[in-house]
Amino acid sequence: MVSERIDTVTPARAARLRARRDAREPDLWALLDDVMDPEVPVLSLWELGVLQDVARDADGVVVVMTPTYSGCPAMEAMEAAVRARLHAAGHANVRIVRRLSPAWTTDWLSRDARRALVAYGIAAPGALECPQCGSTHVTLIAQFGSTACKALYRCDDCREPFDVFKSH
């Protein structure tokens, strides 16, 4: 099971955790913690690793986001959701900056995010275990699934097909 693995904190994730701990705008972060991935609604955009930073400047609020895949069609929906959340809280002027580098990686997913994925029925990246029965006897059906970030597998024990969040 995922929870029994030793959790390793990659340098990239450690940097994200530090940035979050030292955040200067806790109220803005709290607002955006409500904004979920439209395709995987158990992960916030922060947990997913798409949300990089939020800050105030002279013109309003600046949000920095990193796309998962170059052509991910959910990116526009994510940006619209971020805008809507900030507008609803009275921040009229919102600017979104897309940052490509460093490139998004599933190394940024937290332990909680990985648990949330499995509970939702999606195997976590790098952990090829059936989210239904925990078996590691699994077969690849297709390298691409219903969204850009997932692949499709089948469990050879319980015979259920399941999505895997691709290691990226």
Partner: protein, 254 residues
């Protein structure tokens, strides 16, 4: 990212964007026609990666070009002779083996190309490549798998895979031919030395074809120069299909 107008970076980013867009459009033609539902999803996802990549390269081109054109203007309002994509991307959709051949031969090029471009002195191009190389690496796993499955498959699948490789091979020489702006950018450590990639590309291709019991083609180069706008007759119908909406209703959105 630099904001200075730079005609060579404009031409280079435009060419890389054209490659990605035309390949993405050819892949999109497979939607509703793929052999299985899983392949349908795979091809559509790969198409989206390429079209997303095209948008990023076009955005960098516009920044370097310093004019008022939009990504949509570049994609929808240029004629065939203004497109600078390599001709391998515009070849007709063909059968599934043709799609696999094109994907494999260009993935095998894109992986070392993008890995090198990620070290470009142009921060904008480097960032696009840093992201795209991860996607192309994943694409190559799938396209190589298919070369093996079709090549080392049935008599029919093997014959079709070989035929597709032989036909596509004639357009591979262009992958390694730099154009003038690219050569100037190479001297500035902005562009990648694509001629130097032929050897690693051949190593990847030869190994896969050997594993797939296929023969390395000997088809001579077709002699087109997509980078100079010297295209095959297949590009115009592709553009007519892709551009019809924006040509008929300029500025239309959904």
């Amino acid at each position: 990212m630099t904001k200075a107008v730079d005609g060579d970076v404009f031409a280079y980013a435009l060419a890389l964007g054209d490659d990605a867009l035309i390949h993405g459009q050819r892949l999109a033609e497979w939607v509703s026609r793929a052999p299985t539902l899983e392949e349908e999803l795979a091809i559509a996802n790969v198409a989206l990666d390429h079209i997303g990549r095209a948008r990023l390269f076009y955005a960098r081109a516009i920044e370097a070009g310093g004019d008022a054109r939009s990504e949509d203007d570049l994609a929808y309002l240029r004629d065939a002779d203004a497109f600078t994509n390599l001709t391998i991307f515009e070849l007709p959709r063909g059968d599934f083996a043709v799609a696999v051949a094109r994907q494999f031969l260009t993935d095998a090029f894109n992986v070392p190309f993008l890995a090198a471009l990620a070290g470009s002195r142009d921060a904008g191009l480097a960032a696009i490549a840093e992201k795209a190389v991860k996607e192309s690496t994943y694409h190559l796993r799938r396209s190589r798998d298919w070369v093996l499955r079709l090549g080392d498959g049935t008599v029919e699948s093997r014959a079709r895979m070989q035929r597709a490789l032989d036909a596509t091979w004639a357009h591979c020489a262009e992958l390694f031919e730099p154009f003038a702006a690219e050569e100037r950018l190479l001297a500035r450590s902005v562009a990648v030395d694509r001629a130097a990639l032929e050897r690693p590309w051949r190593a990847t291709v030869d190994a896969a074809l050997r594993d797939a019991t296929l023969t390395v083609p000997t088809t001579p180069a077709a002699g087109y120069r997509g980078r100079s706008g010297r295209h095959t007759s297949h590009l115009e119908p592709l553009l007519a299909d892709m551009q019809v909406l924006q040509r008929a209703h300029p500025g239309q959105q959904w």
